[in-house]
Symmetry: C2
DNA sequence: GCTGGCACTCGGACAGGGCGAGTGCCAAAA
DNA sequence: TTTTGGCACTCGCCCTGTCCGAGTGCCAGC
């Protein structure tokens, strides 16, 4: 168990290193922080912290920098979540109000988060399976070709073209549309499969049954397909803020960010409720082993329908970043609830 | 007017520099290319080319590199468009077939272009104003709140929430929906404004007229709003290929890529038909002054509904890039026509 | 107009030396 | 037992000087 003062030293090291981006030595520490002890004492503490693996030296006779483990301790025990300043809160409102549709909300959120945290922002679109159905629309494009449009309560819209095995009359179409909507509107997407499974049988014509089955298959497929979990990223220009060695780091990070699958997994690993901070090697993807990810769920009601977060260097301002992420998530939730 | 051989020297310089990324000297040139003359002769030619502004020396006693003007000449007169190899063509098919909806088509196209050219790919969504209307849907969310959904022949879907000045009955809604669709389905979006302008007057109730006007206003606004010209980018990891000085270049480029407005303007400036190549400072945006943009329109019919292209270092393989861009645009056009 | 030769220029790589920040250790003080 | 000041030591960084070679421009000769 580390003594109170040693924890204080660690906190000071993290704060200084985050601020200056340079390894911090014992003398500088005592000068910038009121630790009430001499550099020599701090040196002893540092030796202990290093032994325990919380800090490390880039090379002999350099200052210390926090390790992933050190940041972890800092985040868990030493740092609070810094609430946003009033101007920042106002900025969130100004930025997010006036969004015209879901794409716009997500787009604005990404830009806002990137700007607020000066890091890379990632925002997941509200998940289909956790949303409820607002409306299902069926359009006839050609005698045997339909377009299926799903609209969710969060404003998300998905559409698919369906090739039918047989021509489908306009009356049958209206019929199907009505039955489908009466069954699923207001229900959660996750429940849709059970709600519609007996629909085909209720049609008399054999061809119609086949068509209905096809339509439903497409509908269910749309719900299931994981790759339809869309997301938007922004603020990649902030990667240049990574530090002096950024040319080496940026490559794998950009590559990871391009892989939506990776990002979705990243956000998916986050806790269901509350904020999640993954530091350095805690991230499964190795391209992100020198980054930290701060993520949190957001939703229109009490329940999270999706997640958002930021990706930045392990050397980041955790309290500030966490504050911004949380505040934005809350406000986006409100916006979605209103629309 | 430059002699044939001097042009040949310029071509060789461009090719070597693109390949090696290093300033190319007279000796190396004669070794790698069968110019049939000695290095001394080449030096004289180089001196002329430099005087004319086609090539430059990074510093005294270094080889030459092409200037923007040099690349321009190369593209205009010395380089053809390299057709794709069979495996590459096959890759395009494999990659693009099986897209389920428009987002998917655009997403796949971006990844494909980025992979083929190893550069940053930009794909614009089919423009609203150049598409035709497939269907207009109106949904009632609350007594005085509607959702307007526009579906285009290219599969693009736009939605907006409309707050009505007064409650709007279900019958009026059905009425409006029917009249709206009968007027605009199959027509080009650009013509929609004239087609609907007298609609409000045809309703008897005063409140309904107001609501209809509101709905139409939202509809027209959706068409006009330039920022709704969406696009998708990908392959930003390829920015690391920029060269040894990439840390300096990458920043402004990433920033420019984040500004959708900038990119849209960039694509907008391209010629309506045929491929456009903008080299270095020919790009209006100064963050992109060390990049070249190759862009081309694509569309389902003979007419272009949107544009796509790639952004890369001025030192790029122009023939190959142009070949890839053109091939992808053609195939995407086919895909859109089919769906 | 082309070629070979030659002197010149500069940037890049390499080695050596001084500087300074930071450390670890120790003996003395609290 | 903990803290402190002192001190020798270690390295990385920066600056400088030197060398090397690629590449050039010029010129006389073919």
């Amino acid at each position: 168990m580390l003594s109170e003062r040693r924890l204080e030293v660690l906190r000071a090291i993290v704060q200084d290193y985050v601020g200056t981006e340079e390894p911090v030595g014992s003398k500088a520490l005592t000068e910038r922080h009121k630790l009430g002890v001499s550099p020599a004492t701090v040196r002893n503490d540092m030796a202990v912290l290093e032994e325990e693996g919380y800090i490390a030296q880039p090379h002999t006779s350099a200052g210390r920098i926090p390790t992933d483990k050190g940041y972890r301790l800092f985040v868990d025990r030493l740092a609070g979540v810094k609430p946003l300043s009033t101007p920042e809160r106002r900025a969130i409102h100004n930025f997010l109000d006036g969004a015209v549709d879901l794409d716009d909300v997500v787009g604005r959120t990404v830009r806002l988060l990137a700007q607020l945290t000066r890091q890379v922002a990632v925002v997941q679109y509200p998940s289909l399976t956790r949303s409820t159905v607002r409306h299902v629309e069926l359009l006839s494009l050609a005698p045997a070709r339909l377009m299926l449009v799903l609209i969710t309560d969060t404003g998300r819209v998905e559409q698919r073209v369906v090739d039918c095995p047989a021509p489908f009359g306009e009356t049958s179409l209206a019929d199907l549309r009505a039955r489908l909507n009466s069954r699923v509107v207001g229900r959660r997407f996750a429940d849709v499969p059970q709600l519609v499974q007996d629909l085909p049988e209720s049609f008399e014509e054999v061809e119609d049954r086949a068509t209905v089955s096809t339509v439903l298959a497409t509908l269910l497929e749309t719900l299931v397909e994981e790759h339809e979990e869309r997301l938007m990223i922004g603020g990649t220009a902030n990667l240049t803020r990574f530090g002096h060695d950024f040319p080496l780091m940026i490559r794998p990070v950009l590559e990871a960010l391009e892989e939506q699958v990776v990002l979705l997994k990243l956000l998916g690993e986050a806790k269901e409720s509350g904020m999640t901070v993954r530091i350095g090697h805690e991230n499964a993807h190795e391209g992100l082993s020198s980054t930290s990810v701060v993520s949190v769920g957001y939703g229109s009601g009490g329940e999270a329908v999706a997640k958002l977060g930021v990706v930045g260097p392990t050397r980041m301002d955790y309290p500030g970043t966490m504050g911004a992420v949380r505040a934005v998530a809350r406000y986006v939730g409100q916006i979605l609830a209103e629309s």
